[in-house]
Amino acid sequence: MIMSARRALAGEDVRAPIRCNMNHITDILDNTPFADLAPGELSTIREHAAICVDCEQAFAAARLSSLLLQERVSQAAQDAASANPFFQTRVMAAWREQQAGSAWSLGRLWNATGALVASMAATTAALAVLMFVAPAPNTSDQQTAALAPYSAESVVLGADRDDNQLTNDQVISAIYDDDDEGK
C-alpha cells in the first residue's frame, strides 16, 4: 500500500509490475527457513511481492523449495520405517567376513611372499657368515706368511731347491764356511 502510494505520487502506473533492486526480501527468505518465517515477515513479503515481480518469484521459489524438501523428508521417513528386515543379518555377515578377511589376508600375504622372504633371510645369514666367520683363518694365514722368512714360492719349492737356485753370496758363504770347518 505504501509503495503503491509512493508510486502514484511519483506519477507511475501503480498496476504495472515493478522490479526492485533491493535484497531485503531475498535476505529474509535466505536467512530463515520458510516454515519458520514469522507472520509479520510473511505479511511484509506478501505485500511487497504483490507489486514486485522479482520478489514474487523469489517468494514462490522459496515456498516451493520448502514444500519439495518436506516431501523429500517425509518420503525418507517412510523408507526408513520400511527398512529391509534382513539388514541386521546382512551387517553381521559383512562384519564376520571383514574379520575373517583380515586374518585371511595375512595368511595370503605370507603364502605369496613367504618363500621370497625365507630365501632373502637365508642369503643374508650366509653373507653374514662369510663376512664375519670365514675371513678369520685367511687373516691368520696372511700374518703367518708375513712373519715367516719364506715366500710362498719358497714354501712350495723349498723342498726341491737345489744349489743352482742359490745366490752367489750363499754359494760363497757356504764354501768359506766349509773351509773354516775343515781348518
Binding site: P33, A60, L67, L68, E71, V73
Partner: protein, 157 residues
C-alpha cells in the same frame, strides 16, 4: 539417517552398513561420555558425506530437463492458490524434483538444507551431528537455501 542423504534404498543400506561396520571397529574408542545414538549419528553423517563427496554432482536443473508432468506440477504449486496438500502423483514428482535439486548442491549444503528446512532441526542440532560450528551451519544453510531458491526461480520463469 542414511535415507536423509540417499533416496535410493540400496545406497542408503550400503551407507548404514558401512556405519555399523565402522562403529563395531571403533567401539573401543567410544568412551561413553555422550550418548551412543549421538556417536552413531556422527559416524553415519560422516560416512554419508564421504559417500556423497565421491559421487558426481549433477549440473543445474533446467527447464529443458523437465517432463510435461513436472512442468504442470510447478505451474500448479507455484500459483498463488497452489495446493497446500499434494496428491499421490504430485508427491512422487515433488520427491523426484527435490532429489534432483539436492544433487546439484555440495554434500555439506545438502545436509544443512535437508535437516534445517526439511526436518525442522535447529542450527545447534545440526552442529552437534556434524561437529561443525554453529556459524558454519548457518552459512551452509544460507548458501544452500539461496542456491535452491534461485534454481527453482529459474524453473518458474
Amino acid at each position: 539417517m542414511a535415507h536423509r542423504f540417499f533416496r535410493d534404498r540400496s545406497q542408503a543400506e550400503e551407507a548404514a552398513q558401512e556405519t555399523f561396520l565402522k562403529a563395531f571397529a571403533q567401539l573401543k574408542s567410544f568412551e561413553g561420555r555422550g550418548s551412543m545414538e549421538g556417536w552413531l549419528t556422527r559416524i553415519a553423517t560422516n560416512t554419508c558425506l564421504n559417500m556423497l563427496r565421491s559421487a558426481k554432482r549433477r549440473p543445474e536443473v533446467v527447464n529443458a530437463d523437465l517432463s510435461d508432468d513436472e512442468t504442470e506440477f510447478l505451474e500448479t504449486v507455484s500459483s498463488p492458490v497452489g495446493a497446500e496438500t499434494l496428491n499421490a502423483e504430485q508427491k512422487v514428482i515433488a520427491v523426484d524434483l527435490a532429489e534432483r535439486l539436492l544433487e546439484t548442491l555440495s554434500p555439506e549444503d545438502r545436509l544443512a538444507l535437508t535437516m534445517i528446512d526439511g526436518e525442522g532441526a535447529s542450527v545447534n542440532e545440526v552442529a552437534e551431528v556434524t561437529g561443525w560450528s554453529e556459524s558454519k551451519v548457518k552459512v551452509r544453510a544460507f548458501r544452500a537455501r539461496k542456491k535452491a531458491r534461485e534454481a527453482l526461480a529459474k524453473l518458474l520463469r
